[in-house]
Symmetry: C2
Subunit: 431 residues, 2 copies
């Protein structure tokens, strides 16, 4: 029998326990497909006594997580601790420095330290894999790195956060507002007690930065992602979008449309009702890659959860067992290009703008004048008849296609106006 691939598992939360269950349940099948057994030999987590619903008695327990990397009987360390820094990063660095392969589901760590870790892996000629860090169980990193490898990627975009998609699609189906649906999502386990990272778009931005690096052969630049979240989207925006034939989805979008610069943005967008992403509901993720020969490829599935995430981790392990080392970002780190953040001002878009205004004469003229003065052409305008609570009125409009800089200028002209009761909400239409 072929030598087993020997795993040390750091972190036994839901995903860690899921991986243990998966390897127990599908071990024989994995052995057949990998050509050798994939076997957990040692585990480590904070609390040894916690009941995780899986039998850990056949694995060695290490109180000290860093000891996993030092074991001579380990080929791969699987890091499922989470967090960009701290024990996760220490474990990851330690594993690679000790010449072990590393598999991780940690998007924050890869978004912040992925290049350093990839360099370490290259130096040691070991694998660094993180399929589970983006879009849960969907093999989208493999799809980009390998499946679409022969293409110049023109654009990559998708629904990268299941919590936000659950909230938006539930708001859409129920007509309810953000706060109420968030509370329900928390009760159902689709949102964390502290939902900031999800609803503010940070989690999606981590994933987008990773995808963009692979798609465009560029050094990861998480700090350059232009991020806005969904907390300010109202039921009324969803209704307006619907009336125009659109659905609102939080999208991560990246391209190199202006040649040099890398454009990366996470933002709620209006998606045409017939676009496949408009049909994505609940906590599902979906990623579109547009290749210059493949055309539009769509990858869709569960974006989180113990089973799907463990499935992606185990796929990385099978690749390693089959002897695939590969460059973590598709090309060696030294070959990744340094791409400055693209200047978004030149980009042309159709834009949805929603103003929340005082219910008094002249406000519409003020907004329309600012648009005219900034050269923004209005395609359609909807002023809601009935004031919202508190006497506010919503004015929503969609612009004709035009430069983002003009819209920004119009908003600058309106800045400080006492007609507006809150900053305007800006969402682009997916083109």
């Amino acid at each position: 029998m072929a030598e087993p691939l020997r795993i040390a598992l750091a972190g036994l939360g839901t995903v860690g326990a899921g991986l243990v269950r998966l390897i127990e349940a599908n071990g024989e099948l994995i052995e057949r497909r990998a050509g050798r057994p994939v076997r957990i030999v040692a585990v480590s987590a904070r609390d040894r006594l916690k009941d995780r619903g899986v039998d850990l008695s056949t694995y060695d327990w290490e109180d000290d997580m860093t000891a996993l990397a030092a074991r001579a009987d380990v080929d791969v360390v699987v890091e499922l601790v989470g967090g960009a820094d701290g024990p996760a990063l220490t474990t990851a660095r330690g594993a690679l420095k000790a010449g072990k392969a590393l598999v991780t589901a940690n998007k924050a760590m890869i978004a912040h330290h992925g290049l350093e870790l990839a360099e370490l892996a290259e130096k040691q000629s070991v694998a660094l894999k993180f399929e589970a860090a983006v879009a849960g169980g969907i093999p989208v990193i493999k799809g980009l790195r390998e499946g679409a490898a022969a293409n110049r990627i023109e654009r990559i975009y998708g629904i990268l956060n299941g919590t936000c998609n659950y909230i938006l699609s539930t708001m859409e189906a129920s007509g309810r507002d953000f706060g109420e649906v968030l509370g329900e999502a928390q009760a159902l386990g689709y949102a964390e007690a502290d939902p900031t990272f999800d609803v503010e778009g940070v989690d999606a931005a981590h994933k987008l930065a990773i995808l963009a690096a692979i798609a465009f052969g560029a050094r990861i630049d998480f700090g350059a992602v232009d991020v806005s979240g969904i907390a300010r989207v109202r039921a009324a925006d969803i209704a307006q979008a619907d009336a125009l034939g659109y659905r609102i989805r939080l999208l991560g979008i990246a391209d190199c449309a202006d040649g040099e610069g890398l454009f990366q943005r996470v933002q709620p967008c209006l998606v045409p009702r017939h676009h496949p992403l408009a049909a994505v509901e609940g906590p599902t993720n979906a990623v579109v890659a547009e290749g210059n020969f493949s055309g539009r490829l769509l990858f869709q599935g569960a974006g989180a959860g113990d089973g799907p995430t463990a499935s992606a981790v185990a796929a990385d392990l099978i690749d390693i067992a089959r002897g695939d080392v590969g460059a973590p970002f598709s090309v060696p780190v030294a070959a990744l290009e340094v791409r400055p953040a693209a200047d978004a001002g030149h980009r042309t878009n159709r834009t949805y703008l929603r103003f929340t205004v005082a219910d008094r004469p002249g406000v519409l003229a003020e907004i329309a004048t600012a648009m005219r003065d900034a050269g923004v052409s209005i395609e359609s305008l909807i002023q809601q008849g009935r004031p919202e609570e508190g006497g506010e009125v919503l004015v929503a409009m969609v612009t004709h296609e035009g430069p983002e800089a003009n819209v920004a200028e119009a908003l600058r002209l309106l800045e400080g106006s006492d007609s507006l009761t809150e900053p305007p909400l800006v969402m682009h239409l997916l083109g």
Copy 2:
């Protein structure tokens, strides 16, 4: 610089010419990602003088296709001739016997001779890859073999033929009948002059047999696919399905639900309007794999065309350039299980039945009696008010969930009845 991967290209039809264009256009990028150049050294096709819109002057021309495999300066033969047998098979066998890797887009050849070719490849320790044989540019074979490798696949199903999907979704959008839309599809190049292989479901069956072998670790059994096409679907069926909340799609479906047997069927099915496959329109393909840990994974994109197909062929070449040999069907041929065709009679389904009947009293009673006597319970029944041309009346019904054997028995009881003006159309509802 690393040694180039040297390609011999057999067949210069639209896909062959597309591959030449792709390697010309994206060669530098491919070299960066593959770690070495991928270079065409020799080509062969029937007609040397034909203008294919690409410059072939830098490649050696071989009049005799079998000479490609004999060249010492070739690492991989790419077979893009087509056809299950004949020159394609001769070229493929010759290449593998000569110890060259083989990449092909030829679904018919793989469906009929895939195991023989895989055994040859294993014996020679060379790669045999056929990503382009299934679903054009979509990396679904990679998705199954590698991305979902850690899962027991519960079921695989999808839209595997772009011609049929174009016809069905156009019938749906326009209300027109099959014959008329087929003519238009031929004029637009979405259907062949002889559309039999596509509209009768044979092309989809080739692809399904390949996917099923990989998904279930079973020996390919194309002959066991239960195939029906779309030629008998009428505009009226699409309208009935719509009224019930369904869209009609030609699906390939495979599972091992009864434990031992392998179930493989290509059939027009009723897909619930909110299922992602219902939203797939035009010549697009989409494949769903349901894994026991991953949950439902969806892969979608262009199912045909020179660019997408060349993209998939080139992805295989990049994998080979990176050193990936791998088992063509995910596990070695000797480890593939022999699975008998599943007995469909035990399967339970909700079923759409459409009868074309003479417009006279008693016909409905005759049908209803046959259903009752066979133990088929009717959930809803629609008798169309206005007779079709020729005085026919359509009677459509959906059964409650029940065994297929009962429906078959009901149809047997109605066989030979002079009330029916053509054999009933049977379509299952995707569950």
